[in-house]
Amino acid sequence: MDYFLTEQQQLIRDLARRVAEERILPVRAELDEKEEFPWSIVKDIAASDLFRVFLPVEYEGLGEQAVGLCIAVEELSRACCGVALTYAADALGSIPIFLYGNEEQKRKYLPEVAAGRKLTAFALTESTAGSDASGIKTTAVCDGNDYVINGTKQFITNGGEAEIYTIIAMTDHTRGPRGASAFLVDKGTPGFTFGKKEKKMGIRCSATSELVFHNCRVPKENLLGKDGQGFIVTMKTLDLSRPGVAALAVGLAQGALEAAVEHAKNREQFGHPVTAIQAVQHMLANMAMDVEAGRALMYASAKTIDSGVKNYSEEGAMAKVFATDMAMRVTTDAVQVCGGAGYMRDYPVEKMMRDAKINQIYEGTNQVLRNVIAHEVLKRKALRK
């Protein structure tokens, strides 16, 4: 299918594909096995300008917004979802800065992110808060010209490796979600350390870590948006990042489909390749339709967002839920098509199936996001355009 990409968008796709095939593919199994953060690939991504793709031109980005992000993420994820997540999570971490940062904050941080000199992370989840953002226990208390932060964030992607963190903390517990605020915290700030490094089922080369704040002082200038705006910052950031999660899933499923086709063509049973068996053909056909449907919804949502509409919670959620459920099905079927070999770690589909699961969980579980979609569907008074 042709998604009518512009010349620059095609360039992004071609380059991301080269990074994926030349730098990621040869090492993905090893990175997974060793649970090793892919720093050398991050440097390649930076050198090729891919960290600039989604950032505004004024801050040394390429201004390709959500569509550009989806193109790059899909290509990277086709080779390794873990590496692609590292990249996508950096985009996630930069979104609150360019959506809610003041001019000074944007000038300070975004060019560094664009050049890939610094990675970012976004920290909302805690042991008592995730889908329920009102369960946040981390506090930020105003003290003179500073805020003093205390608490622990959990399951933070790029945690420990990123330099720039946007964290959500309660500045006023009495106001519920309206008492949450967003802060920029630099790695190395006294009182800010890293806790447990998680051992995961999939996306094992990506870093997932606890952030621990113990009387961590940050100046008032590090408040992102207004005091009490933390919940809005969170919602708008995740709305914008969700097509990128769809892209992680689409790329992953595309990679699994290709691996399954490749294996099936070479696997002989009953005197011919298994691709001669109609049952296998139909599985591959369903997988191909599924991937393309996910990709179409991903681009449609990203283009809608980039067109400048005000509210796009529903579009982002639809793309994310559909594509990630799709990727779980497609990677599972890819293992099935590859049979016994597919279950072995010598073949890539085993890793892909493990990598797929988290996509249904993070950045809004697919259950919570169905609530978001249903809410929009039910509040509409008329048929959609």
Binding site: Q8, L11, I12, L15, R18, V19, E22, R23, D44, A47, S48, D49, L50, R52, V53, L62
Partner: protein, 259 residues
């Protein structure tokens, strides 16, 4: 620090086919690429520029379509490019090529370091780098695997020799050819590629660089390719008969016949 990188566009395959009638390479249907060894030269030039400042000028002698190789070099981070192209250069051997490139480099004027790949994929001679140094009367180091220091008119480099490494100091300007151990070439960047599409690449002719007619092209080339041929592959099998001892004796005498 001004760096000149010399590159060559070559067929992107080692499976070269030769027209038996004309004794020339069949280039139709074969994709052209930057000579892979030259990619290390480009990377080293760009890396030095990032470290020391200055600019990297990439230069090639070739037909008009070699423009594509220069644009790719710009997408990899080089600043400027020059295509040296003239019908009069056709048929140049390594001697004449070295002459033409040295004249073009003299036209560029100010340079501190000239970097070439250690050899090309198609010609395989490794002679043009040293040829340029000879014609420009400046020092030359081959098979450089590491640049240890460069600046203030001097450089210290490591070069590969059969038994290990050799460290060499030299004054600048100088010519080096680099081996693949020196770096890992980067992939093109998006900004670089956009820049490469609109970059103006001047074409310098024999006249522009002041090349004398009898020193370039076929006229300036002492080498004559009389014939190019593939060695004939022959297979002959002989079944040995008799008992084990007789077969072994026969085998040994056959082998001795070959040696």
């Amino acid at each position: 620090m001004n760096i000149v990188v010399c590159i060559k566009q070559v067929p992107g395959t080692t499976d070269i086919k030769i027209d038996p009638k004309t004794n020339t390479l069949i280039r139709e249907g074969v994709q052209s690429i930057i000579n892979p060894f030259d990619c290390y030269a480009i990377e080293e030039g760009v890396h030095l520029r990032e470290k020391c400042g200055g600019k990297v000028i990439v230069i090639t002698m070739g037909p008009p379509q070699a423009d594509a190789a220069l644009r790719e070099a710009i997408s990899l981070g080089t600043d400027e490019a020059v295509l040296v192209s003239d019908r009069a250069f056709a048929g140049s051997d390594t001697w004449a090529t070295s002459y033409v490139l040295s004249k073009a480099i003299q036209k560029i004027g100010s340079f501190d370091l000239i970097i070439c790949g250690k050899q090309t994929l198609d010609g395989d001679t490794g002679q043009v780098g040293p040829g340029i140094a000879e014609m420009l009367k400046i020092p030359f180091v081959a098979y450089v695997s590491k640049i240890e220091e460069v600046g203030n008119g001097r450089m210290r480099v490591q070069r590969m020799i059969e038994e290990g490494h050799e460290t060499i100091e030299s004054s600048l300007p100088a010519v080096i050819t680099v081996s693949k151990e020196i770096n890992v070439p980067r992939l093109p960047s998006i900004r670089g590629t956009m820049k490469s599409k609109s970059a103006k690449i001047p074409v310098w002719t024999a006249n522009d660089i002041g090349a004398e007619a009898d020193k370039a092209g076929l006229a300036g080339s002492p080498t004559r390719v009389v014939k190019i041929f593939f060695p004939k592959r022959e297979r002959k099998s002989e079944m040995l008969a008799g008992n084990a001892r007789e077969q072994v004796d026969k085998l040994i005498s056959n082998l001795e016949g070959i040696i």
